[in-house]
Structure formats: structure tokens, C-alpha cells
Amino acid sequence: MRELAGRLAALDPDAGAAVQVIAYFDGLSQARAGLEAIVRGAAVLAGCPARLVDPRRRVRVRVTATGHRDDAGPPPDPAWPRTAVEPDGDAALWLERPGPAGTVEAIVLERAATAARDVLDRTRGRAPAHDPALVELLCDASAPEDARLQAAHRLGLPAAGAVRAVAVEGGHPMIAAGSAPPATGGRRAGVGPAVAVRDLPSSWRAARTALRLTASGTDQDPGPRVVHADEMGGLAVLAESVGPGTPPSPDVAALERAASAAPWILVTLDAVATATSLRAAAAALTLHHSTLQERLAHAERLLGWNVRSPHGKLRLQLALVLRRLHRAPGP
């Protein structure tokens, strides 16, 4: 960025340079750049080393004026310009040069700190909500709100930020940052909608419903291993009223009969139900198009309806979803 920095230096510090500094850090945030890129931006634009230290999260990133990562360096000098990354935290960003910050440096510090705060929130801050008892309390609609908010505070969750409850098969409730996809470790999971901390019980309820719509993803239980409550739509209504105790509808019974006739039936029907076209379904199954046509004709005879018409496809989708709901633990 020598060229960029040179251009910035040549500009009137009160006018053009500020706009460019802002544009640079906005660009980093939009591209979801990491902490090192942000600290590098500060160092290169200010023309001196920059460092970010967050003792609580054990983060230390230092970059030299030429853009090289170098976490060593002298202890912070009180004379260096510094800005707090969070108003009430001890994370801070420094420019390693003496004296008060000039106009442009102040903007560099401020914009870099804002960008760094977003990254810290996204990647390190809010995820490690691990104490299972506290998390359970957070998701418990019967617990008083102030007890839940206290639990959130102890877990380091921001009262204002967006979070999601995640229900994993056979596991404790999990909390994930609202903006990042949750790490479910490959397990079947229902992901609740992003909500404020106080509304986690509703996110948890939706996450459990979503979990009931997941499948193991095997040939005998095809379907998604992770379902997002945000995308359930009207299936949520279905899920609330159907469970293992509900008598199976004739279409589900037909599906089970067909499934016992040939091992490929369910996975083939699931592919046809979820793919955008028969060609896409054939590709997903790595079958020749004409083989798929033959198999479908066979499956349709067993089921008793045409699964390729729009109505027949909806009927098939519903039968597959109902089958999952019958197999899942009750609501």
C-alpha cells in the first residue's frame, strides 16, 4: 500500500484522506477481512506499527508499517495514540508513534477499532457459551427474564447482539452468534432464528422444531442434516401437529411400502422432491437420465401417484416430511 499510503499522505488531511480511510476499512468489513488485515490497514495507512490487544480473549496482533505481522514489540508507551475497541472492555488498538493523533490518524484508529470490534464479536466473542446449565437457563421460557439476562452476562453474551439457539441431536442446547453459521460438528441440528438474548426461549423452541425436520441423510432416511427454522415456513405448523403418536397418513404408509420394495426408492424420491429438475436429480444421484425415468415409473406404480406433476411433487414432499416427523421424537 505504499502507493495507497503515498496517495493518502499527499491529500489534504481534512478532506480526501479521511474519506479514503473510511472507504478502506468499510471495504475490509464488507469483504469480511480478519483482524490481521484490519491491523495491517491501520499500520500501513498510518505509516507506523499498529497493535491490537484484547487480554480477555487472548488476542494480540501487531503489524509493522510495511505490513508484516510481528507480534513482538516493546510494551505499550503511554504516549502512543490509543483507542478502546469496546467502550467497557480492556481491548485496545494502538498506533506506535509518539504524540497525539492527527486528524487522519484519529480516523484510522477509530475506523480500525470499529472494524476489529465487529470481527471480535463475530469470531471470538460470543460463541464460547459453553456452561450447559447456564445455556439451558437462557433457553428456558419459564425462567425469570432477569435470571436469563444474568446468565447471558456470565456467558459473555451481549444483551444487544443477535444470537441463535441451536438444537443438536442428543446434545445440550447451544448458543451461536447471530451472524455466523453455527458449528454443529456434523451432527443433526435445528438452528433457531437470530434473536436478542431475552428472546432465546423462542429461538430454542423453533430450533427444536427444526431439528424434528432433519434426517440422518442416509439412503433409508434421506434429507437435510441441518434445518434452519428461518426456512421452515408452513412446515413448522405441520411439525407442531404431527409426531410419532399421530397415525400415519395413507401417503406415508405408501411410502413405507415402496421403501421396503427396493433400497433405492427413498433416496431417489428425495432427490426428485428436492432437485430443481429431473436432470439435476439424476446428476445428484449419479444416474443416467433414462435410468432415473425408469426408476420413477416403478416408484410411481408402488406409490399410486405421479410424482412428476407439480401437485404430485408437493404430495411427495409432504409425505417425505411427514415420514420424518413420525420418526422424530414428539413435539
Partner: protein
């Protein structure tokens, strides 16, 4: 069969590297866009205003090089060609030489541009000389003037190698962007005319194909710093109405060559998010298919000339290190 061939559909542009993307957001506001042939004078002036002139002192690199300007005979019937000759101080002759052809879309730049940032520091480390050619620019001087000037300068350098302290067997042609295209063209001419034996050709994001219609050209339209519009203007300046037609010389547009055998080893690099991606990758592939030697680097999320605009970004540093490593390997082999 339909009469007009539909271009194959392309996906969305590959994402830029995050740090390059941020730098591009700033740069884009500052670079004059090449939109028409008529905009060339304005773009040239903007370039002059934005880049301080490179002085002899800058080129000496704290006494590492002895710097000399020479005017050497040009192509038959054409004016002399200015060469900038930077000889390594203290290196034992004969030393290798990098024959540099500057970039600038065939219409911009001179033989000093950018040398102190990359090529001279590498030459210093390698104990090599740098000879840089100030070829005539289009559209005032259309093809074949630029590439013939480059070739004439190369021939002179080879013939006067002893006088310059240069090892005539160890001359590498190098260039970026339009300079990369011209370097590739010069390598083809040297092969076809039985000219100077080249040790290698270093083609950095080279401008190779006047047809300007590859998937990457279409994907990056309006996004890359050198995009389809600028490329159209550059090639039209060089080739006039012949651009994109059936009669374009491979010395102007090396992508047009049918035979890529018998060339010196090539280094080719390019960004995955740039206009020239597909023509540059294709050139490397075709060299291999012809049984030749090429090293290809495609830097993910790089736009055209990313390492020059954002040298601080890790991907830029890696790209530059890869070039130096290759030069070292070629010179030590």
C-alpha cells in the same frame, strides 16, 4: 446451427481477496478510466500527475547500480530506441540481464516506471543487470512499432553483451501487462527469426489476446482496474480496425500464435479475478501442450496488477516472492 454464436454463460465474478477488495475501493476512485481512444491523452496526463518521475538516483538504489541511457538502432527505417541500462556495481562480469518491457496498455508508461519497486531490488539480489526499453506507444505508433522497437533493443543488447558485461546466454525478457504481451511477442520473434537465445520469459499478468471475449473478460467487466472497455481501447489503439479480426499478427497478440513449441521457459502469473485470467492460463496450458516449460501462478482474488496497487497485502507479497524464487531458480540452473 444458429448463425450467431452465443457466448458461453459465465458465473458471477470470483470474489476479490478481502484486503485487495478494500484497496480497490480506494484506488478505483483515483484512477482515470480508459473509456475511448479520445480519453487517452487525459489518462496519460492523469498518470503523469499521479506518479512522481523516477530519477537516476532512484534507479541507482543507493549505489547498487550504475545507470546509463543509450539510444540504439531501431527497426529498419525507424528512429533509435532509447534503452535504460542499469549495471550491478561490484558484480563480476559477465552477469545475467533482465530485459524489461514496461506495461501501460500499449498506450502509456515509459522505461523507468516501477523499476525501483520490484525489478531493480530483485536484480540487486541476483547480481543481474536490467535493460529497460522505451518503445514507441500506440495509437501514434500502431503495431508493429512497439514490438519491433522491443525486439531491436533486445538484439542490440545481445550483440553488445560483452561491452555491457552481460552474459549473452543469460538474458531473460520480462514484462507486466502490455509489457508481458510484448515480452511474449519478442520471445516468438526471437524464435522465428533465429534471434537472440533467451534464457527465459517472465510474463506478469500479460495482455495476450486482442479478441477480448474470454469468460474472464466478461466476468470482470466494469470490475477490474483494467476491464473489457479499457482492453478494447488498448488493443484498438495498437491494431486499429484489425483488432479481433482474422489477420492479427501473433507478435502483436501472442494468443494468436498456432505454434508454441521451441520457446524459452515461461513464468506466467495472473489474478483469478482479472480480465486476463483465461488468456494467461490458456497460454501456459498451450506451452505445456506443445511440450514446453512454463510455471503458472493464479493468485486467488487478485485483480489486474494487484501487487503494485496493494503491495502490503500478504497475497501481493507472496506473488512477488514467487517471481523472485523463479528468477533465482532459472539463473542458478
Amino acid at each position: 446451427m444458429t448463425t450467431a454464436q452465443e457466448p458461453a454463460p459465465v458465473g458471477p465474478p470470483p470474489p476479490f481477496d478481502p484486503e485487495l477488495s478494500a484497496a480497490l475501493g480506494v484506488i478505483r476512485e483515483q484512477i482515470a478510466r480508459l473509456s475511448t481512444l479520445e480519453s487517452i491523452p487525459e489518462v496519460r496526463q492523469a498518470r503523469i500527475d499521479a506518479t512522481p518521475p523516477v530519477t537516476d538516483d532512484d534507479l541507482r538504489l543507493d549505489g547498487a547500480f550504475e545507470v546509463e541511457e543509450r539510444a540504439v538502432p531501431g527497426p529498419p527505417g525507424a528512429p533509435d530506441v532509447p534503452l535504460l541500462i542499469c549495471r550491478p556495481v561490484g558484480a563480476e562480469a559477465p552477469y545475467p540481464a533482465i530485459y524489461n518491457i514496461h506495461g501501460g496498455g500499449m498506450i502509456l508508461g515509459d522505461h523507468r516506471t516501477g523499476l525501483p519497486e520490484t525489478l531493480l531490488p530483485w536484480a540487486k539480489e541476483l547480481g543481474a543487470a536490467v535493460v529497460s526499453v522505451d518503445y514507441r506507444l500506440a495509437p501514434e505508433h500502431p503495431h508493429p512499432a512497439p514490438v519491433e522497437d522491443c525486439y531491436a533493443g533486445l538484439v542490440w543488447t545481445h550483440e553488445h553483451a560483452a561491452e555491457l558485461g552481460v552474459d549473452p546466454e543469460r538474458i531473460i525478457v520480462a514484462g507486466a501487462s502490455a509489457g508481458g504481451g510484448l515480452a511474449a511477442g519478442v520471445a516468438l520473434m526471437a524464435r522465428d527469426r533465429g534471434g537472440p537465445p533467451l534464457l527465459a520469459q517472465m510474463l506478469l499478468c500479460p495482455m495476450l489476446d486482442d479478441r477480448n471475449d474470454s469468460p474472464s473478460v466478461r466476468q470482470m467487466e466494469g470490475l477490474d482496474v483494467w476491464d473489457r472497455t479499457a482492453n478494447h481501447v488498448g488493443w484498438t489503439a495498437l491494431l486499429g480496425d484489425a483488432r479481433g479480426g482474422p489477420d492479427v499478427s501473433p507478435y502483436a497478440a501472442p494468443a494468436r500464435v498456432t505454434d508454441l513449441s521451441g520457446l524459452p521457459p515461461a513464468f506466467i502469473d495472473v489474478g483469478s479475478a482479472e480480465t486476463f485470467r483465461d488468456e494467461d492460463v490458456a497460454y501456459a496450458v498451450r506451452i505445456w501442450q506443445a511440450g514446453g516449460r512454463a510455471e503458472l501462478h493464479v493468485w486467488p482474488g487478485g485483480f489486474h496488477g494487484f501487487d503494485g496497487f496493494a503491495p502490503h497485502a500478504p497475497i501481493s507479497r507472496e506473488a512477488r516472492e514467487a517471481r523472485l524464487r523463479w528468477l533465482r531458480r532459472i539463473l542458478n540452473s
